[in-house]
């Protein structure tokens, strides 16, 4: 009896590991790494890994916000524009008032992002406008406001303080602050959605809004929170973006929303809402970044990059879907046999 129990536990632990959505992504990532490593064995060198993590940090931060929105059954197309507006704001504040300390600067940009997310959230939660429409509108609205804010000009490196530009580059325990910020965001958000009622409410309204109402989840409020977080994270990313690329221009982060959505797709987040996890999204962002980093290494012309990226997303999508469908079918069959 005991032995059987033990065996079952081991079996179930193992199969639940395999069953996780992320598993197929990890396998795909490994498959993809083989030719890259053959071509360039030091692709996984510490130095290059650090570069990759640096590159993926901002993407991961914003993708997690996007993930929450998709999880709750929506989509946020405005994140790119929010980054532009907040990044521009941070740059301009830094130029106008160099004395403002960097953490304050990031808080300002995050706060502005929060307000922009709040606007999205109000429209979605209480205006009852579908998220995709709301954010399609605010995508161009916020982008336009960025131009208005900046008057069409740039903020470039020499107009910003060295401490601001230097901030994401500061090394701490061999890892840059930019990466640390991303790690913190990942941990906080992971804990938040796993260990708080609000976090679980995201799953509830995405999975079954009617049932969510029956158990007392406030749908409007939850949607509002989701957009606030997405805005906040995009705002934080905006402040970091300007510092990292040492310039704030009006077109910054154009099309970035698609990158974040792609990270979620790669990470196995269901578009119907209610399923997915932070680890998957982080892996998705990592995969996307690695892909971009690896193409030059395997001497693929930059003109091929878009195509390869598209193919990889498609393959991951197909694998995710097929694995998921097989799994469900198998479980059903098993259940019936057991009966």
């Amino acid at each position: 009896m005991n032995r059987k129990n033990f065996k079952e536990t081991v079996n179930s632990t193992f199969s639940s590991l395999l069953k996780r959505r992320e598993a197929s992504l990890v396998i795909l990532l490994l498959v993809f790494l083989v030719p890259v490593l053959i071509q360039s064995p030091n692709f996984l060198s510490l130095e290059n890994l650090a570069r990759i993590f640096n590159d993926m940090s901002i993407l991961a931060i914003v993708a997690i916000g996007q993930f929450l929105v998709i999880l709750s059954g929506g989509i946020d197309l405005s994140v790119g524009s929010v980054i532009a507006f907040t990044g521009m704001s941070a740059g301009m504040v830094n130029e106008a008032a160099p004395a403002v300390p960097v953490p304050m600067l990031l808080m300002i940009s995050a706060a502005i992002g929060l307000l922009m997310g709040m606007f999205n959230g109000v429209l979605v939660a209480w205006g009852k406008i579908p998220p995709i429409i709301t954010t399609l509108g605010t995508m161009s609205l916020y982008r336009g406001l960025t131009f208005v804010l900046s008057g069409g000009t740039w903020v470039t490196a020499h107009e910003m303080t060295p401490s601001y530009i230097g901030f994401p580059r500061i090394q701490f325990l061999g890892i840059s602050v930019l990466v640390w910020v991303a790690i913190m965001v990942v941990i906080i958000m992971y804990a938040f959605i796993r260990y708080t009622r609000t976090g679980r409410a995201f799953y509830a309204i995405g999975g079954n809004p009617v049932a969510a109402k029956f158990v007392g989840v406030n749908e409007a409020k939850t949607r509002f929170i989701v957009f606030i977080i997405s805005g906040l994270l995009a705002g934080l990313a905006g402040g970091l973006w300007t510092a990292r690329y040492a310039s704030a221009v009006n077109e910054m982060a154009t099309g970035f929303e698609m990158q974040t959505v792609a990270s979620c797709v790669l990470g196995g987040v269901a578009f119907s809402g209610g399923a997915g996890g932070v680890p998957g999204v982080v892996l998705g962002a990592l995969f996307l970044t690695m892909l971009n980093n690896a193409l030059p290494v395997i001497y693929l012309s930059p003109f091929w990059q878009t195509l390869v990226e598209g193919l990889v997303i498609l393959i991951a999508l197909v694998i995710n879907t097929v694995v998921d469908q097989r799994k469900t079918a198998r479980l059903l069959a098993q259940r019936r046999v057991k009966k």
């Binding site: 509830a204 029956f214 469900t328 059903l332």
Partner: protein, 502 residues
């Protein structure tokens, strides 16, 4: 007599253009099982949603233990001690059983402000054990069967330690065995001094387990009392204002030539070697426990899912239903078991719903004749006596019974030769049920072959010419009307193989 724990006074609920509740009263005492009775659309579910804080009433009061309650959401009601198992599916398919049980009131660990998953899993395990359910707490609900899902809903209600438990048609998806389990649980709750509000359209179970009742009609309070002081007929009269004379108006008929012959049909994981024959003018009952695979067989015949082997013959010719369109072209119609998801286009008008499967014959070269379509819908809709503000209203504003009538109208219109009905009377009131039975008989007498899948034994026994009994994906008995009794049918349904009659 125990004291009144829940009082409802002058309750009104308006939806734009509809009075769903109009001055409703109800008294529920501690430790009683209170039946809430009414036709489809009488306002039962609406009342439940108000009691559980999902809707706010237009006016009137809900008084719990002498205190007037103002719930702003479902959580308030839960905390006050009222929980419900709702009529609509209210599960989160992508989440675990534990989470489904605790959604909205997750447990925090005592010393920190984080959710305590270990504790929740442990509690869930206990709850499931007490319900004798063999499910792991971390199973995703999407991998559970209908009956199991229902049990999880019940577990959820239990986890809340409520004073009042409301069950809105809890048995409509269960069959005998699970229903017995449910009764056991309900009685246990009663013994613990809890009050249960029980909504059902099945009089047998109302009289079996309930103590008191309240009847609603058209959103209005009609009356209440002790069930032991009344009888079925008077309740029916309160419900619909008249009596229903005949529940199973079965016409004795000469059965014609074979229409549909199914031989050794298999579908991996769902059913094996299913064989039966349906004749013209015959009502063929299909009985079995939930999960017996009846629906799957019907879906396969209608071309929804493919079969792995076996053959289907119509009029003596091999026929392979590769899609519902193909099956329909051969004169097969299916009234599916889930009317909300499969039977109806909820956000579409009644008339368009009815015309939908017949559009081809209502159009020329693919262009719809709109006048003809409207007339057609009205014709078949009025035949079924659908109650609605008009033919243009959307199907989702109708009550369950009226929705079912729309589904039936939709399929009679196609003038099928074979009408398959999967649980056609699930969740509909007596009057409508009688009407459906009447209709089934009528169809058969016109020479149509009818397959009646039902989990209600009296219905199957009352209506069928022959009965096919399934158990775990296999046919365990085919009985003639004369030979079929509740014992042998039930025995076959739980797997005791009988000699096949035909």
């Amino acid at each position: 007599m125990s004291q009144v724990i829940l009082e409802v006074r002058h309750l009104m609920k308006f939806f734009p253009g509809i009075k769903a509740l109009d001055d409703v009263h109800m008294d529920v005492r501690a430790g009683e099982i209170h039946a809430l009775i009414g036709e489809n659309g009488a306002g039962k579910s609406t009342l439940v949603k108000i009691l559980t804080g999902v809707y706010t009433p237009t006016s009137g009061s809900v008084i719990l233990e002498g205190k007037e309650m103002k719930f702003s959401n479902a959580l308030d009601a839960q905390q006050a001690g009222i929980v419900a198992i709702h009529q609509e599916a209210s599960m989160f398919p992508e989440l675990s059983v534990t989470e489904n049980i605790y959604m909205g009131h997750h447990l925090y660990s005592p010393h920190s402000r984080r959710l305590d998953w270990k504790a929740m899993h442990k509690e869930t395990r206990k709850l499931l054990d007490s319900l004798q359910l063999d499910i792991a707490p971390d199973t995703l609900v999407k991998n559970l069967g209908i009956a199991q899902r229902h049990m999880v809903e019940i577990a959820k209600a239990l986890s809340l330690d409520a004073k009042v438990v409301i069950m809105d048609e809890p048995t409509s998806a269960l069959t005998s065995r699970e229903v017995e389990d449910l009764y056991r649980i309900v009685r246990k709750l009663k013994e613990e001094g809890k009050s249960i509000i029980f909504i059902s359209h099945k009089f047998e179970e109302i009289f079996e387990i309930c103590d008191t009742y309240t009847v609603l009609r058209d959103g209005r309070y009609i009356g209440s009392g002790y069930l032991k002081d009344t009888d079925r007929d008077s309740i029916i009269r309160m419900m619909i204002g008249r009596s229903v004379d005949q529940m199973f108006p079965k016409k004795e008929l000469v059965v014609g030539k074979p229409l549909l012959e199914v031989k050794e049909l298999c579908q991996t994981g769902n059913f094996t070697n299913v064989s039966f024959t349906l004749h013209e003018g015959e009502i063929l009952g299909f009985f079995g426990l939930v999960g017996a695979g009846r629906s799957e067989v019907m879906r396969a015949i209608f071309g929804i899912d493919p079969c792995s082997s076996g053959s289907i013959m119509m009029d003596g010719e091999i026929f392979s239903p590769s899609s519902p369109g193909v099956a329909m072209a051969r004169g097969i119609a299916l009234v599916p078991e889930d009317r909300q998801k499969q039977g109806l286009i909820l956000a579409m008008s009644i008339s368009r719903n009815i015309a939908l499967p017949c559009l081809a014959s209502l159009s020329r070269h693919g262009v719809v004749n709109r006048k003809k379509a409207a007339a057609y819908a009205e014709k078949y809709g009025s035949q079924m006596e659908i109650r609605a503000a008009g033919w243009h209203v959307d199907a989702d504003t109708l009550s369950g019974g009226n929705q079912q009538k729309v589904v039936l109208s939709k399929w009679i219109g196609t003038q099928p030769r074979i009408l398959i009905m999967d649980e056609p009377t699930k969740g509909i009131d007596v009057a409508t049920k009688a009407a459906v039975h009447e209709f089934v008989s009528e169809m058969a007498s016109q020479g149509m072959g009818v397959i009646l899948v039902s989990s209600e034994l009296p219905e199957v026994l009352g209506m069928s010419d022959r009965i096919v009994v399934m158990h775990e994906g296999e046919v365990t008995a085919v009985l003639d009307r004369a030979d079929a009794g509740s014992e042998n049918v039930m025995a076959a349904a739980i797997g005791e193989v009988q000699e096949a009659v035909r």
